[in-house]
């Protein structure tokens, strides 16, 4: 596991959406291979990465998640043939938009993790947690309407 530099002991809360066929299985493989990653990553199982509505991502941030990562099958390997291609476009546009609003880009991530890539799953999560930890707590999305000073 990577060393994580914490900001005054800050531990981020990470929501990971994993598709049932590849990435969830990849996470299982990380488990059965005992490849550790931080406990603050919590996985929500979805049938396909294309089930992930941008509203879920926004909801997570609003409720205090510090980072949201979506994992799906590699392009071309989607169990539902095309699902991850849609995910790729949707998330590309969403992430760029959030960046435009001033939300740190390292809080969002899309990764392709196959069922065989337990090691990659673990590496990706370690890296993601490290990056989000470095950013500190997510405050922006939950107080976008609050005026400065209030």
């Amino acid at each position: 596991m990577q060393e994580i530099t914490t900001k005054e002991g800050f531990v981020p809360n990470i929501v990971a959406f994993c598709c049932n066929w590849c990435s969830y299985a990849g996470a299982d493989l990380a488990g059965s291979s005992r490849l550790s990653y931080p406990a603050n990553v919590k996985i929500i199982r979805v049938p396909c990465s294309c089930r992930v509505n941008p509203m879920f991502v926004l909801k997570a941030f609003q409720r205090g998640a510090d980072g949201v990562i979506i994992c799906g099958c590699h392009p071309g390997d989607c169990h539902y043939v095309t699902g991850n291609y849609y995910t790729r476009r949707r998330m590309a546009m969403l992430f760029s938009f959030l960046d435009y609003l001033g939300i740190e880009r390292d809080r969002t991530r899309l990764e392709w993790v196959s069922a065989a890539e337990g090691a990659k799953f673990s590496a990706v999560m370690n890296d993601f947690v490290a990056k989000v930890t470095a950013l500190g707590e997510n405050k922006k999305l939950s107080d976008l309407r609050v005026k400065e000073g209030e």
């Binding site: 919590k42 929500i44 294309c50």
Partner: protein, 662 residues
Amino acid sequence: MQRIGVFICWCGSNIAATVDVERVADAVKKDQGVVYSATYQYMCSENGQQLIKNAIKEHSLTGIVVGSCSPRMHEATFRKTAEAAGLNSYMVEIANIREHCSWIHKDREEATEKAIILVRTAIAKVNLNAPLSAGESPVIKRALVIGGGIAGIQAALDIAEAGFEVDIVEKNATIGGRMAQIDKTFPTLDCSACILTPKMVDCAQNEKIDILSYSEVEEVKGFVGNFSVKIKRKARFVDEKKCTGCKLCMEKCPSKKGLDEFNMKLNKRPAIYIPFAQAIPNVAVIDPEQCIKLKTGKCGLCQKVCGAGAIDYTQKDEYIERGYGAIVVATGFKPIELNAFNEFGYSENQDVITSLELERIMNAAGPTNGVLLRPSDGEHPKVITFIQCVGSRDTSGCGKPYCSKICCMYTAKHAMLIREKYPDTEVHVFYIDVRTPGKNYDEFFRRAVEQYGVDYIKGMVGKVYNENGKLMVQGSNLIDNEQVLIESDLVVLAAAIEPEPSVRKIATLLTASIDTNNFLTESHAKLRPVESPTAGVYLAGVCQGPKDIPETVSQASACAAKVIGLLVKDKLKTNPCVASANETMCNGCSQCASVCPYGAITYVEKELRVDGKTELRRIASVNPAVCQGCGACTVTCPSGAMDLKGFSSKQIMSEVEEICKR
């Protein structure tokens, strides 16, 4: 209000050693809807399941959460348990506290805290679960086998044996596949044709089996139990029913420039031909690229000599559509192209050949009638060098990263057969490793060395070049730490094998997963090795991964067993976790249909009563038997009318909220 039971599994020490299971069970006791919580050593055991069943009955549970291993492991188990206790199986949610928790975290406190959150997340979801019932769909009691090699033949025979009808779709003019091209088989050295052709004949004679040769799958619609497949029957310009296989046309055909594909293009064949003597169906086919009549309109000799009147130059491709309950993919393999391996001089030197070409040269029905003669000058080669792993285990980008698995054994076979038939021939084999797992395999290889004196050289060849009419093979001998130069007459390359390229199209049509090497992916590498992740699609032979004949036949029979198990059912339960549109919210905008990979969404005009008024509206309608439940439509839907059962937006939102609660 749900009445939820929570069951935390210890999984022996797998979970309990890292997660304080009692604390988890205790922590969620007062959560919304929870009326019962317990732990047990092995929840999946008979006793564990009994504990769940009893609790469901005693506490009138309406939903359960099992904190255990991955749902990919035991979700089905616990669903059955719930069902047995009278609870709808979709009222079960699994919190994965093993693979996603106890196995990856060392700190007990941290792991326990996480386990509590994971269990709470599942509780939050189950609070919103609704009983789902699987629909039923009928099963068409007919199977399709794509590919007529040994894998397809074996699967078809086994399925037909059980009394079901089977169609074999074969893209070539005859069934038989690669095995028909092989001379002898390892490790027994029996004649390949002698064991294969009787099976081919069985197929032809079995009234349950319909061989659609010279045909290709064009379109696949439907789903498990209910596939509708469009098959292209390519024009062979010979009436299959009339042709008697007399071969008179072959003798008279004036165009003899076509390359004989069956003999690996080592010799020529006429434009009208039967691929080989034992072809099934034993019917001629015209190669439109070579046929003078089809190209210029002149000739027509074959039609004149055909006593049966079978020749029909006007034949066009035809399409048939048939329904199937199950599909077996057995599309096989081909050796890779060797363009990227010019260091072995394959393209410049006629006497550098592939193993499959040698197979034809060694075969009595081959271009040299089974006499080992080299292609360039028809002389007996006195020194033969084999090079193994040509393009296999290659991660440089030129070849394939995997081991082709069969080359070590067939090279040993070739070396042995040559030494047996021509004892004055010197045989060298360059190898990186000799891999011979399998019954009697290593013994076979050792026989080549010990009994037949084949010279095995540990090392790889760096260059093959022609000098003064000899093939100079320059390579390493790693055992002696030398660079050796072997003056050879014939060089045989064990070219890597790759899935037959048409498999990509088939995979797309079937929506079956394919890996980066174009091998079809099995549903589970260990426990479901013959099933594709797409329900109703099964995999046999090399299309799924490199394998030899015995393994292929085993897999084909396993496929057949799976197919039979499916076809004996009259109805299938369908996945109830499908999309459905809320009629009052649907705009009818068609965006959902545009992302559905299955064409499951259609639109209907429907009269709706909203706010006391009747309105005619255009509304999305999902066919639950066709929908596979990916959810692409749910995100595309701007109004949120489209939702996915079992993974509803509200359920996922509640999971998000629970995780974020900290």
